[in-house]
Amino acid sequence: MMNRKIALERLKTLINDEIVVATYSTASDWIEIFDRPLNFFSFGAMGLASSHGLGLALARPERKVLVLDGDGSLLMNLGTLVTISAAAPKNLIHMVWKNGSYEANGGHPVPHQQVDFAAMARAAGIASVYRANDPESFESAVRQALSVDGPTFIEVEIEQGPLGPRSYKEMYKASRRQRLREALNA
């Protein structure tokens, strides 16, 4: 198990022109660490980060798309694993950051702590699946995922971060979305 910010600092060194789709607590940390036009902050409907990522991956097959999903979020949209597997975008990397809690909603636990998301992804038909629980295994998994055809899935075990509501006003502002649109369609 590792600290999310340490893992995200490591992720910053591994990416270049990839699109990063982040949601809730991971998004809050990511925006502090690497604020960039090619970030997409999943908005408004919990669980849909991977669906946003799938749409972006289908629209822009020349770019890798990394989804930084949460375990609570993914549990709200488990069918997405099957949808992604069937659509089979080669450029989509779906990570679930697993801390067993609805961290953004006050830290209450998800219904079951022992959910094996990697096994679920495999069972849904996603062939390239990795697990990471420390910075070294995380870096290795990301490097592998970036180098193979997807879709790929990474289960990342992390510690629970700071609890409670964070400010999403800055993250969701329209100018940030416009910046992404311009970066993608320049």
């Binding site: 789709v21 997409f40 999943s42 908005f43 408004g44 409907a45 669980g47 849909l48 980060a49 991977s50 669906s51 946003h52 990522g53 799938l54 749409g55 972006l56 991956a57 289908l58 629209a59 822009r60 949209n77 069918g79 997405t80 099957v82 949808t83 069937a86 659509a87 979305r177 992404l180 649109r181 993608l184 369609n185």
Partner: protein, 181 residues
């Protein structure tokens, strides 16, 4: 057909029908490249079956209807046009995604909603089916423009409405009233 009396053929010609291929042509004229769908008995044969074999359209099958809105948003940021093809029950299921992406973020979510069980030549608001009756008022409350596509005479509205949705960045809903053939 060839053995039918002239009056039968004439009656068929004058009957109100919704031709699936005409709807699909209108979708393609609008620059839509992706169709995102959960199957709906109302449109399964007349729309979804021909769409899945149409080389000009990429069909993405989803497990639940709210996924279609998430995917359509991603496609939109990547500069691709999508049509969401679902049943009215799926529209109701996906309400929070619609609230977020179509209404608050004003993304051009183009929905084609099958009104399964709507009686022919009965307005949706007058349907005996509760689920069918509530769809138009819900769209009105959400502020989403709606078009009833009940027969071939309505099909010409589709392409300009999709164009407008994308140029104005706002959602639009097409209610499929009659089962397409």
């Amino acid at each position: 057909m060839g053995n039918q009396p002239d009056e039968v053929q004439e009656a068929r010609a004058q009957a109100r029908v919704l031709t699936g291929s005409r709807v699909i042509d209108a979708i393609k004229r609008s620059g839509v490249s992706h169709v995102l769908s959960v199957p709906d008995l109302h449109t399964a044969k007349g729309l979804l079956t021909p769409i899945r074999s149409d080389p000009a359209l990429t069909l993405i099958r989803t497990c639940k209807e709210d996924e279609t809105f998430g995917i359509a948003a991603g496609l939109n940021y990547g500069n691709k046009r999508a049509l969401i093809l679902i049943q009215y029950t799926g529209f109701l299921y996906a309400m929070n995604a619609i609230r977020a992406m179509a209404c608050e973020h004003k993304l051009p979510m183009c929905m084609m909603i099958g009104l399964l069980g709507k009686e022919p030549d009965v307005a949706p608001q007058d349907s005996a089916k509760f689920g069918v009756r509530i769809i138009e008022p819900i769209l009105d409350i959400l502020g989403i423009k709606r078009f009833l596509i009940d027969d071939d005479s309505c099909v010409d509205a589709i392409s300009p409405a999709i164009e407008h949705a994308y140029s104005a960045s706002e959602p639009v809903a097409f209610l499929i009233g009659r089962k397409p053939v």
